[in-house]
Symmetry: C2
Subunit: 288 residues, 2 copies
């Protein structure tokens, strides 16, 4: 069996590529003879290797945001792989938010500034796959937001508070004009601004991802039932006042009680709260 050659005739000009991959390690010769060398698993596929190489260059600082990779055709040749498999790797990195591919002359694969929205997608997938539950997510959100309040009280700058103020004004306007769904959008932004005011992007990223999902449920609820949180802007103002005065205890209490009331709103009529309604539109949050 080991000597069986391909029955096909032409066989073309394979092994023509300069850097032929070393993966083809000749399984035939190692048949049953004198080699106690257990080559490790070796299931690593080409595109994984490519991703790894590129990430390596990134970690090493050789590649930085804004840099451009060689054109696909050229890079493929450099790596000694086909263009298709290179594209699989580039696709993966693009989905990971590491690259952005741009067409045309002067196009190419550009290293991106990290896109923090990517964590949202992780959360969504985990939820879709049933790895995490809505309950765990809500619970985590409450706790993390409590932490956020502490940090925001400690670190929020004037500009942060102003941005929150402006957000509340937009909320009031939307309320007056009865644009309920816009108000939900304002809420999403409120928490984003609040998270940013901690001055810690890691925390902000976590809060954003968890809030993004939460807001989908709120959105679905508001869109389907038309209910709306009463005195929203008013509560926000009270909270912002506490935050401005660095009153952690008060701010924390206000937010927690608000979150609880939102939770109650969501939980009445739980039938409408199905996962797929909230997660249905897969794309938002990925808008560019």
């Amino acid at each position: 069996m080991s000597t069986k050659s391909s029955p096909r005739a032409p066989q073309r000009s394979r092994t023509a590529s300069p850097n032929r991959r070393e993966r083809a390690v000749d399984h035939r010769a190692a048949g049953a003879a004198a080699a106690p060398t257990f080559k490790p698993i070796h299931t690593r596929r080409t595109f994984e290797e490519i991703c790894e190489r590129i990430r390596e260059q990134l970690a090493l600082g050789v590649l930085k945001p804004g840099d451009k990779l060689p054109a696909e055709r050229e890079l493929a040749q450099q790596l000694g792989v086909s263009r298709n498999v290179l594209r699989e790797a580039l696709r993966s990195l693009e989905m990971a938010g590491v690259l952005r591919l741009q067409k045309g002359v002067k196009g190419g694969a550009f290293i991106q500034q990290g896109d923090t929205r990517r964590m949202n997608e992780v959360m969504r997938d985990m939820l879709s796959l049933g790895t995490i539950s809505v309950r765990e997510l809500s619970e985590a959100r409450v706790h993390v937001l409590d932490l956020v309040v502490q940090l925001a009280c400690a670190n929020a700058r004037r500009a942060d508070l102003d941005a929150l103020e402006a957000n509340i004004e937009r909320t009031e306007l939307a309320t007056r004009e009865g644009r309920l769904l816009d108000r939900v959008e304002c809420s999403r932004e409120f928490y984003k601004l609040l998270a940013a005011s901690t001055g810690n992007k890691v925390i902000a990223m976590i809060v954003d991802s968890v809030t993004e999902i939460h807001m989908r449920f709120v959105y679905a609820k508001v869109a389907s039932s038309g209910v709306a949180m009463a005195r929203l802007a008013e509560k926000r103002r009270q909270f912002l006042a506490a935050l401005s005065e660095r009153d952690v205890a008060l701010a924390s209490r206000l937010l927690r009680s608000h979150l609880e009331s939102v939770q109650r709103m969501l939980e009445q009529d739980p039938g409408a709260m199905s996962l797929h309604v909230a997660l249905a539109d897969v794309q938002p949050g990925m808008r560019r």
Copy 2:
């Protein structure tokens, strides 16, 4: 210009696919004539659409972990796309931890149980890209771990405490035998167990991702300098005792002071703390 046909001769049998994609919307006919219909942007690429469709099926619950997608050749035909572009989509989903591809007869694309390690990769990329800083990461870790202690005190079960106990014993053994690097591995696991004891997988996932990176720095430090945290297991025991007695204040204080001493250890000789040393090996954490 609009009537210019392809100069090439053969042109092959294109448009032969049954479900030809509707993307080819005939740009020629819409030249300058009577159509005020602004077709929306439509820059969406095929593979994105495919990913979206599959994620949609997931969110809807039509696809569940363990399910198998049709074979590539067949699915490509169903979707009316080439196998290559389908593979790009599958690759992306695989990297996202949603799918796993398996070779051979009875192989195929299987929906996975969500892999929480995926968030680690997001954090690593963010760090590599300079979107977040090591400082922010450490800070976030301290705060989140403080939260974890609270939750663990409230929710840790007997089994969780036992697992922590067992971990400490392994730590002691590694210490006695001078296996410093193994001890770092024990530490990583300690925090993983601690995070799990909160009973909230979202929190656990966050802690794990942040800890995973932190431990790379510790590992690099220990590997290069040979220094080691003094009285580690002892401190762990004290902490575990506090946790067992649900003494939040004490446990929190103990952990915080430990984290601070680790931080001091890392920060002396900051030259060895470069990013690329810690992030160099891209793959770990993705071991299967």
